[in-house]
């Protein structure tokens, strides 16, 4: 036992060869995404112009939205100590949708920034309500948590539907519910870059979230201000989810699938996992979007549909796996 100096450090290196392979694979997917579509960007006279107006924004949006939802899921799972939690199984997305709807009713001509602010605020309040509820009933049992979250989300969603019905906004709500990258155009998606700031913030405080994931008592023991970290985490999740909801719409299960797959292979150390979570989030959403765009060409299926199918399968697989492991 005198080899302490030679032993591997507690944290792995951030950039490993495998990660570079992953980056290359996702990069190839993104290039495919750039050149997939009905419009002939090489033949048509305004091909280059169309490429810049639709294809590039769409692909950038895929990267940012995929990363945002995957990271939100990861942080949420650490903060609640529950593997089945993510923005669409806790009602966060529905709250963001309700916020968005209310802005559209009060001020139909609201600009993107106003819409976004209200979606973020609503997402923050909703997530806080959910977290506070969890604290009060100290429900840590794995499955009760997402069930309560999904129920809460449904209630909020029902309220949104009712309001939309009363105010003739049902169609807008329907478009929002079916998250899609179809309408991403230059000049309308740029706010998604806020997600990049959120990613940097999460990376900087990664260890705090990992410690919080060890539970309130252990976190307090090592001197972490648990409540502050919960607040910060909720804020970052709300921003990421709110922005994505406004620009893209509902992207179900992404935050659930990605962190669970990464955890299986790499454990739960957030700092080392973050690049992988981002990469896999981007990869999955890009593949789903490509499928959605090509499956009934020249028409498109919303990406949320493909994600929903994929997510449901992975969700069930996770359940079965957990049951097997007792």
């Amino acid at each position: 036992m005198s080899t302490t100096a030679l032993r591997a450090a507690s944290k792995g290196r951030l950039f490993e060869p495998k990660l570079i392979i992953g980056i290359v694979v996702v990069a190839v997917l993104l290039v495919i995404s750039l050149f997939t579509g009905v419009y002939d960007i090489f033949g048509a006279q305004d091909g280059g112009e169309m490429f810049a107006i639709t294809r590039i924004p769409r692909t950038i949006a895929l990267v940012l939205a995929g990363a945002a939802m995957a990271m939100s899921g990861l942080v949420m799972q650490l903060l609640t100590q529950n593997r089945f939690v993510e923005p669409t199984t806790t009602g966060t997305t529905e709250w963001a949708g309700l916020g968005l709807l209310l802005v559209m009713i009060v001020n139909p001509g609201a600009d993107l920034l106003t819409k976004m602010t209200f979606a973020i605020l609503a997402a923050f309040i909703g997530t806080m309500v959910f977290f506070l509820f969890l604290r009060r009933v100290s429900l840590k049992a794995s499955l009760t948590v997402p069930i309560v979250g999904i129920m809460l989300g449904s209630v909020v969603g029902a309220i949104s539907t009712f309001i939309a019905l009363q105010t003739d906004m049902l169609q807008s709500l329907g478009i929002w519910f079916a998250g899609s990258f179809t309408s991403i155009l230059r000049g309308q998606y740029e706010v998604l870059w806020i997600v990049a700031i959120v990613a940097v913030a999460i990376f900087l405080v990664a260890d705090r979230f990992t410690v919080a994931g060890l539970g309130e008592e252990i976190a307090t023991n090592v001197g972490l201000n648990y409540k502050q970290v919960m607040f910060l985490g909720t804020g970052l999740i709300a921003i990421a989810t709110g922005v994505v909801t406004v620009v893209v719409g509902n992207l179900p299960f992404l935050g659930l699938i990605v962190p669970n797959i990464v955890s299986m292979f790499r454990g739960d150390d957030l700092r080392g996992n973050l690049p992988w979570v981002v990469l896999l989030g981007v990869g999955i959403v890009t593949v789903c979007d490509l499928v959605g765009r090509t499956i009934i060409m020249p028409f498109e299926v919303p990406v949320s549909l493909i994600l929903g199918v994929l997510g449901a399968v992975v969700f069930i697989a996770l359940l079965l796996r957990q049951r097997r492991n007792g």
């Binding site: 036992m1 840590k140 260890d207 990992t210 023991n221 090592v222 001197g223 454990g267 739960d268």
Partner: protein
């Protein structure tokens, strides 16, 4: 020294802790014993600032627990509660590394890594250090958490029933590890124990708690007596001379 002065905590009309006034000396192992629901764990949790108190003061080597910043207290005292059932997928080494959090804020220096290695070796976890916590047995996991608390390098270590879920051999090993931590590393260890005989054999001081109050405090020789134990546990106890010291027989 850990000092509790007139400590009070009220739960409901019939359940309350205190008033407790006691000084736990620095150095060695102090065992908290007593019947179920006596308030042993609650007392420990309050000393470790995981739970607030209604009245009185608790201070650890002169620092008032209520007014000292949590991140500063984390360098003086560490507390490990009974294992929670959520198991994060961290490796043993990563977990123990987070014991350095009060000092390093997550960025482990070479000196931190050395302390982590030493803690791991101290609890014989060297061969398991790359394993994930969810791949360990309950006893191994318990040791990993204790290694984490030791890596925190605090003068005071509070442990809530660390022998829970451990079989005979592992219980003895755990107590031997803690004994060594007290003697070789000079830690002050306060531990909630269920088995009075473990307390009698391994502790330097025994603190008996009943109905939320400290009813006895003394050396094992003073506490391991028929009349004292019978009174504390409210069941007939006979202390006999065992081959390795006094042995409480209660069945």
């Amino acid at each position: 020294m850990i000092t509790l002065e007139n400590v009070h905590k009220k739960y409901s009309n019939d359940v309350a802790i205190g008033p407790v006034s006691i000084s736990i000396p620095a150095g060695g192992i102090t065992a908290l014993v007593g019947p179920n629901g006596a308030g042993k764990s609650t007392l420990l949790t309050m000393v470790g600032r995981l739970m607030g108190i209604d009245e009185g003061t608790i201070s650890i080597s002169g620092f008032d627990v209520a007014s000292t910043a949590s991140k500063d207290l984390a360098k003086i005292v560490s507390i490990l509660r009974q294992e929670n059932h959520f198991v994060t997928r961290l490796t043993v080494r990563q977990l123990v590394g987070f014991g350095r959090f009060p000092h390093s804020k997550g960025r482990l220096s070479a000196a931190d890594e050395l302390i982590v290695s030493r803690s791991i070796d101290f609890l014989d976890l060297g061969a398991l250090e790359a394993r994930y916590l969810d791949e360990l047995s309950g006893g191994q996991r318990q040791r990993a958490y204790v290694a984490m608390v030791l890596a925190q390098d605090t003068e005071y270590v509070l442990l809530d029933e660390p022998l829970n879920n451990l079989d005979m051999a592992h219980s003895v090993q755990m107590m031997a590890h803690l004994r060594r931590a007290a003697e070789e590393l000079g830690r002050t260890i306060v531990i909630v124990l269920h088995d009075i005989n473990f307390a009698g054999h391994y502790a330097d001081h025994i603190c008996a708690v009943k109905h939320g109050k400290v009813v006895e405090f003394g050396t094992p020789a003073e506490i391991m007596r028929d009349d004292v134990l019978t009174r504390v546990f409210e069941t007939p106890v006979t202390v006999i001379d065992g081959p390795r010291g006094p042995l409480a027989v209660y069945y």
